[in-house]
């Protein structure tokens, strides 16, 4: 009787993409050498160009992926009329904490990419009114007409995203370790909506 074996075959193309995701998000475009990616993927340098033509093309591929990973969730969700503001806050916090815990380098990568090439980013963002005309913002303004939604968005996003940006500082200063950081981020999923609502109630 012949043995049977289940093997997960990852195509070379996907191996290179995966390596590129890792190296680009960790080091950014300029600090990344195509040789680093080839090594990480366990293949030769020429093969990388055979598949993806150039470093820039490969980067754009990864960047588009990461952009929609970072912004993709928010779009359809903003105009959901069937959920309360409370529920939306809980979902946003829950989603971003989980997403960034699985991809801690995502914020700095995305922010860096936009900063170094805003023009390129404009093409990706379809409709800028998506946010300003959204049910979500209307719900906020109904709750607290006096507050500029800029402040609200900054605080909500900042509470979710900033810890992952500041993580290296906190770790270096020995204020947290990997484990306690993750525990506290899980706590925040419930706390952020509470804090944000407190901000809407105050003053």
């Amino acid at each position: 009787m012949a043995k049977s074996k289940v093997v997960t075959v990852i195509s070379t193309e996907e191996k290179i993409k995966e390596a590129a995701r890792k190296v680009f998000t960790q080091k950014g475009y300029a600090a990344t050498r195509t040789r680093d990616i080839a090594d990480e993927a366990g293949i030769n340098l020429a093969l990388l160009n055979y598949y993806f033509r150039s470093k820039e093309k490969l980067f754009e591929l990864v960047m588009a992926e990461k952009m929609s990973q970072f912004f993709g969730f928010i779009g359809p969700f903003l105009n959901d009329e069937s959920t309360t503001l409370q529920i939306k806050l809980e979902r946003i916090a829950g989603h971003y904490v989980d997403l960034l815990q699985a991809n801690p380098d995502l914020p700095i990568f995305v922010l860096g990419a936009i900063r170094s090439n805003p023009g390129h980013f404009i093409k990706i963002i379809k409709d800028t009114n998506v946010l300003t005309q959204s049910v979500f913002l209307k719900q906020i303004q109904k709750k607290k007409p006096g507050l500029n939604p800029f402040h609200f968005l900054m605080n909500l996003l900042g509470m979710c995203v900033f810890p992952f940006i500041a993580k290296p500082i906190f770790e270096t200063m020995k204020l947290v370790d990997e484990k306690s950081f993750n525990e506290m981020m899980q706590e925040r999923k419930a706390l952020i909506p509470v804090w944000v609502k407190a901000m809407l109630d105050v003053k």
Copy 2:
């Protein structure tokens, strides 16, 4: 009668440093070409190496400067027993908003430098207990013993710093322009202490 003229003489060394500050903070270490710095300073490439020996040395100089610009304020201030928590919150928010408005690239530069070289950063941070043993943290814990100070620090810092990190996104999406961004950041100097205190009162 001889005319007299006041001329501010900037030494070549300082011109190069100033150019290095600008280019390094805008583009980061890897994306910066020493030729960019030389051009920005209006001098020749060789001169840069004559004065500063190497790109890395020059970078370390700029980095140390920016680190103390970013962290310097907080140290002595944390153990001031003569000020209330309220006053401290107002001063932190006021200080960081003004500092970052004058140096919008500072956060990303500092965070990037730490992330890409945590070991180097350790040497700069003298005593890690400075923060955890501070009067400031004791005041917070007295106000709300249940809250992990991690959350408090993240929110306070995030509210001050995150907007400057996210600024390019908001600008690209046409949610703010330069002018209204600065106005809103000035508003935040007063609002952040209110929000942070609301966070300490709630729940």
